[in-house]
Symmetry: C2
Subunit: 271 residues, 2 copies
């Protein structure tokens, strides 16, 4: 196989298999090329991935070593993605009765979802994550988008038990905004004891739902390594139950009467 | 930029932007290369994508023309993906009380989900799809995986109305297995009238849920171009309400008492 052909194949391979280590002999056999040629290919791909702002290839030397793709979106690219998202969200026709905002179309767009996933994956790249945990329904696409980049499985907490989940663990919690008692349910076999988890959700107001997810993770003896929310509501700052979280967006104004809406970048971009 | 560098960048670009047409001048400007060089790059990538069994680049000549990536998994690759999945599913510890099967871990694995999405996208590649429609919760990751490959947005039907959905259309339907009356709800602004939709779900027994989704699509004057289910239960064949569907897997045995489970490939692989 020629270098040009190998570069196409290997670029696809690394993108499809992030955060997994492969030995040089694996590529030598796969593409029937000399070790020195494969090393040069890896240098070229590494260099381009960095210039494109999508991450890097890291090589661990030695017999047990190998090369792996570490996705890491540049802050520049992350800013660009969020600017596109903010432009799409700042449209007063999105305001719903009660001062809520319609985001389902944006969360339904696989391109935006993939970009959000890349930003979150970069935000939590230093944490070792065994599971990405979210609660049905709107957080699910975001959780998968992150999981795909970091190569970890997704675990979905439900509002009600379902026969296809087997035995479950459930907790009650108080929803921050409505002050109602709600339930969360998770299949017993979904998480191993002592696992490291990343909690993800689409929107955070007072943080009751995220707090509930943390309590449920406690029941599984899981360690919460990070909390990510796509958007937070600014006006709930004082009552917020959750403090160590990463937000990509912040709604600073959402007024049904004035029909005004203002979205800014979240705390991930403040540091 | 050198050819080797362009090949890395362009391979990533096509994979990230499936089913979208780009003009040659776009690439000429993007990578600062001659038109003839870009054409040769495209030929190399097209050739490799076909050899790798992941699709092809098609070029439309003329001023309004351009090149686009058509993902199309080879049947060979599809068989291989399903064999892996079947191996993972045929494990009697997955059998739950009532003869149900635990699949949440498989549906939580982003690698399997992505592969299933590629198989479905190939199965429906001749249809023009404006929206991929699914019902919460388990169908959601599959819908996004397909949507990402075919470049269409996802629309999620819910079991209950939510304030963040705005005004909704709802229908009642009779669940095939439990014979209970259930409800489906979809935001009014989620689908344009006359749209072409692909219906996706994880599991089909008698088909009541899929039938409900079809009825709801009717309320939106949408045209159902295809129905895909990851797995169907064989024993419900006689009572089935839905006939034109594509299944990737078929459970031919699922016996709680005997603790036996048998999974085969679905009707997509029979033709």
């Amino acid at each position: 196989m020629k270098r040009s052909e190998r570069l196409v194949a290997m670029t696809n391979f690394f993108i499809e298999n992030p955060k997994q280590q492969f030995s040089l002999p694996f590529f030598v056999e796969q593409y029937d090329a000399a070790k020195s040629s494969i090393s040069e290919d890896i240098d070229i791909i590494d260099d381009m991935f960095q210039r494109m702002g999508i991450g890097r290839l890291t090589t661990v030397p030695g017999a047990a070593g190998g090369v792996q793709y570490i996705p890491d979106l540049s802050k520049n690219m992350a800013h660009q993605y969020m600017n596109d998202l903010i432009e799409r969200l700042q449209d007063s026709s999105r305001i719903l009765p009660g001062g809520y905002i319609y985001m389902s179309d944006v969360l339904g767009d696989p391109k935006f979802v993939r970009q959000i996933g890349q930003v979150f994956a970069s935000a939590f790249q230093d944490q070792h994550i065994d599971y990405v945990v979210t609660v049905a329904t709107k957080g699910i696409p975001l959780a998968y988008a992150v999981a795909q980049v970091i190569g970890a499985p997704v675990v979905i907490i439900r509002r009600d038990p379902k026969v296809t989940e087997g035995s479950t663990v459930s907790i009650n919690y108080v929803s921050g905004s409505s002050r109602k008692i709600q339930t969360m349910v998770l299949s017993k076999r979904s998480i191993e004891e002592g696992a490291n988890v990343l909690i993800l959700d689409d929107f955070m107001k007072a943080g009751g739902t995220v707090q509930g997810m943390m309590n449920l993770m406690n029941e599984f003896d899981a360690n919460v390594q990070g909390i990510g929310v796509l958007a937070e509501a600014d006006d709930e700052d004082e009552d917020r139950k959750v403090h160590n979280y990463t937000s990509l967006l912040k709604f600073t104004e959402l007024d049904e009467v004035k029909q005004s809406i203002n979205v800014e970048k979240g705390n991930y971009f403040q540091s």
